[in-house]
Symmetry: C2
Subunit: 392 residues, 2 copies
C-alpha cells in the first residue's frame, strides 16, 4: 500500500528540477527510515514512503545550517536547531524517486552530510541519498550470479598519465575461458567520473539481473573518465567550447586497444557499443558520428538526439549503425530548457527519433516516467538499452 | 635536499601516536604543496617538505573550527579565522610519513575536510592526508604492467547477506589462461573495511611494482570485510569480546570456496596465505591457528605475535607453517602500550620471533622505521611479506 501511495504521488506531481511540488501539501506520513546510502550505523538522513527526506545534523554551536537538497526553486531545505543541539529539517515535498546529490552549508562553509556515503558529482565528492523507486528491483542486489567490477590502470601517452577505468565482466566470464564478449563503452556526465556508473548507476547490478533473467546477452562494460577539457587541473571547461579530440584519442587509441589486449573481447564495430549520460551522450554522439567504423550501437541518455540532418552527414552511417537509442527523463521533455544538457539541439528528440525510424534506422526512443536529469532516468535507460545490443 | 631534510627530521623525532614532537621547533619551510589525496582541483590541505600540514576551511560565520589531526597529546590543530572568512591552521610539528585519517569540528559538529578524499576508518568515511615518504617509490603508480582490482559479490548464507570483497589479480592473469595462482587473504583493521588495503594501503601498486622488479611471484590477493562482531548494525563490538566464529565461517566456508570456484587458484594450504593489520592480524592468528591445514603462510602486521607457547598448542603447526611473519612500526615497539592493538599479548614480539626461529620455524620479524600504528607500517609490511610467499 505504501508503495502504491508513493507511485500515485509521483505521477500526480509537477516537475521542478530534482523534485516536485504538490498543489496541496499532504500530511507527512511518519514512517521515515534511514536512507539505503547511509554510512554504517547512521540513522540520518531518513526517507519516508512518500519520498520526503528528513535530515539531522549535530552542530550545537552553529548559527545556521542549510541543506542544498529540497524542492527545486525553493532553495533547498531549511534546518532548525532543537534543544539537543541537533539541526533537523524535512523537505517541503516528495523528491523524485532514485538518486540525488546534495551537500550542506554550516555557517557559510560547504560540507558533506556525515550520515551518508559520498558520490563523485559536480567535480567533488558529494553526499548522496536514495529515494526508493517502485521499480527498484531491477537494480537490487539479488541472489543471482554476479559479474565483477574491476579497476584497470592503462597508460595514456597522449595525456602523459596513467588513467583509470572500471570494467564490468559478466557472470561466467572467468570460467568460459574460450568465450569472447562484445563491449559497451559507457560514459558518465559532467562533473562525475569513472566511478559514477557503478556507484550511482548500479550498472553492474542492472546487468547481473538482466543476464539472470535472460533479457540481455552477456557483454563487458568499460567506464572511464571523460572530462579531458580541463581549463586548469581539476577545473573542467564548459560544454560549449568542448573539444572532443583529447578524449577521443584516449578512448580510440589507448583505452580500446588496452581493453582488446587484456580482455577477451570481440574487437570489431559490430560488437562494440558506446553510450553515455548527459555530457557522456554528447561525447558519444561526437565520437560515434566521426567514427562509424568503430561503434555499431549508440546510446544517448539525456544527452542530445540524432536528427535526420545529423545522420545524413555521416558517410555510411545508415548501413553501419545497428541501433540509435535516445532517452530522456519525462520531466526533461516536459520542460526541456531545465532538463536538457548544454549543447542539446533545440529540435524535438521524439520527432527526431521517429524521423530516423521512418528513414529505416533502428531508432529507439525511451522516456523514463516521472524522472528528470537524474540517475533513475539513466539506470532505466541502461535497462532498456542493454537488451537491444549485439543482437545481429 | 628536501628529501634529506625530511628524512633527518623523521629520524630525530620522538613518537607520540600519529606524529612526533621536536625538542626545538624548527622554522617552518614555506614549500607547502597540495596533498596527493586532495579532491580534483583542491588546493588545501597542503604538506611541506618537513611533514607539516596546513589546513584551510572556508566557514566565514563559524565560531570555532578545529582539526583532529595534529601532534598526539596536543589535541589536534587549532584553526584561526582570517579576514577572508577562511580558517587556517598548521600542525605544531612534522607528522609521520605516510597516511593519516582525520576530521574537523565546526561549531560542535563533526565533518570531513571538503578538500580531501575520504577513506573508511573508525567505522566512518574520514578525511585522509598523505605525508610523502622517502621510500614512496615502492607504492607509486609507475609505467609497469598493472594488475586489476575487482569487486566481487558473494553469497553468504551464514550471515544471510550478499557480501563484497576486492580481488587483486596480477598482471598476466587475464592472458595466461592456463596458469593457476596462489592466494593471499589480506585483512583490514578495526573500523576499516574491504576498501582499505587498496585505497589506503596501495596493495595493488605494491604488488605491481614488486612483480615488475621480479621480487615476488605473482599471486592473487583477496580483501573482504572482517568486522562480523556488530553489537548492533554498524556498531562493531570491541576486540576483548571478539568472537572469531562468524568471520571464520564467512572466510572458510563461503569466500574461499567462491574464490576457488571463480578464479584460477591453487586451492591448497601451501598456496594460500593469510595476513592482516591490527585487528586483521588478530583475526589471522585466531583463524590460522585453528586451521593449520588451510594456510601455510601467516602474517601479523601490528596485530599480535606468536610465542612458543602459542605454536606448541597447535597440532602439526611446525610442519605445516611455511612462514610466520610478524611486523610492527618502530614507534609501537618504543611505546607498546600506545601502539599495540587491543588483545596483543604483553610478551616481547621480537623475542617471540627469535624463539620461533630458534625452534626451527621460518620466523621473520620486520620493523618499519619511524612509523606507528598506521598505514605506512603496513604498506612496508606487505612489501616485505610478499616476496617471502609461496617459495616452496
Amino acid at each position: 500500500m505504501r508503495r502504491y501511495v508513493a507511485a500515485l504521488l509521483a505521477t500526480a506531481t509537477t516537475a521542478i528540477t530534482a523534485g516536485s511540488v504538490l498543489a496541496q501539501p499532504p500530511s507527512i506520513i511518519e514512517d521515515f527510515k534511514p536512507s539505503a546510502l547511509n554510512q554504517p550505523g547512521q540513522q540520518y538522513p531518513q526517507v519516508n514512503s512518500q519520498g520526503y527526506v528528513r535530515f539531522r545534523i549535530a552542530a550545537p554551536d552553529a548559527k545556521a545550517v542549510h541543506m542544498s537538497l529540497g524542492l527545486g526553486g525553493q532553495g533547498g531545505t531549511a534546518m532548525t536547531k532543537g534543544d539537543d543541539g541537533a539541526w533537523t529539517g524535512t523537505t517541503a515535498g516528495a523528491l523524485d524517486q532514485g538518486f540525488h546529490y546534495y551537500h550542506l552549508t554550516v555557517d557559510g562553509g560547504t560540507f558533506n552530510d556525515p550520515g551518508t556515503l559520498n558520490f563523485y558529482g559536480s567535480t567533488r565528492w558529494e553526499s548522496g541519498i536514495e529515494i526508493p523507486a517502485q521499480d527498484a528491483d531491477f537494480y537490487a542486489v539479488k541472489d543471482v550470479p554476479h559479474g565483477q567490477v574491476q579497476q584497470i590502470l592503462f597508460a595514456s601517452p597522449s595525456t602523459a598519465t596513467t588513467r583509470r577505468a572500471y570494467v564490468y565482466t559478466p557472470p561466467g566470464y572467468e570460467k568460459n575461458v574460450s568465450a569472447r564478449y562484445p563491449v559497451l563503452y559507457l560514459q558518465h556526465g559532467w562533473g562525475e567520473d569513472e566511478t559514477a556508473w557503478a556507484n550511482q548507476g548500479h550498472a553492474n547490478l542492472i546487468m547481473d539481473n538482466l543476464i539472470a533473467s535472460g533479457s540481455t546477452r552477456p557483454f563487458i562494460i568499460v567506464m572511464t573518465y571523460g572530462m579531458t577539457n580541463d581549463v586548469k587541473p581539476g577545473a573542467p571547461g564548459g560544454l560549449a567550447s568542448f573539444d572532443i579530440k583529447p578524449f577521443q584519442t584516449v578512448l580510440l587509441n589507448e583505452l580500446i586497444p588496452y581493453v582488446d589486449g587484456h580482455f577477451r573481447t570481440r574487437a570489431d564495430a559490430r560488437h562494440r557499443a558506446m553510450a553515455g549520460l548527459s555530457m557522456g551522450g554528447f561525447e558519444t554522439k561526437l565520437i560515434a558520428s566521426a567514427n562509424p567504423d568503430k561503434f555499431a550501437y549508440i546510446g544517448l541518455f539525456s544527452g542530445g538526439t540524432y536528427s535526420l540532418d545529423d545522420v545524413n552527414k555521416i558517410p555510411g552511417f545508415k548501413e553501419k549503425a545497428k541501433l540509435v537509442f535516445v532517452s530522456f527523463g519525462s520531466r526533461e521533455l516536459d520542460n526541456p530548457r531545465r532538463g536538457a544538457p548544454p549543447g542539446m539541439p533545440p529540435s524535438d528528440p521524439r520527432a527526431n527519433a521517429a524521423a530516423l525510424k521512418d528513414a529505416g534506422f533502428n531508432s529507439v526512443f525511451y522516456v523514463s516516467p516521472n524522472t528528470a536529469h537524474e540517475f533513475l532516468s539513466w539506470r532505466r535507460s541502461l535497462r532498456e538499452f542493454a537488451p537491444l545490443l549485439f543482437r545481429d
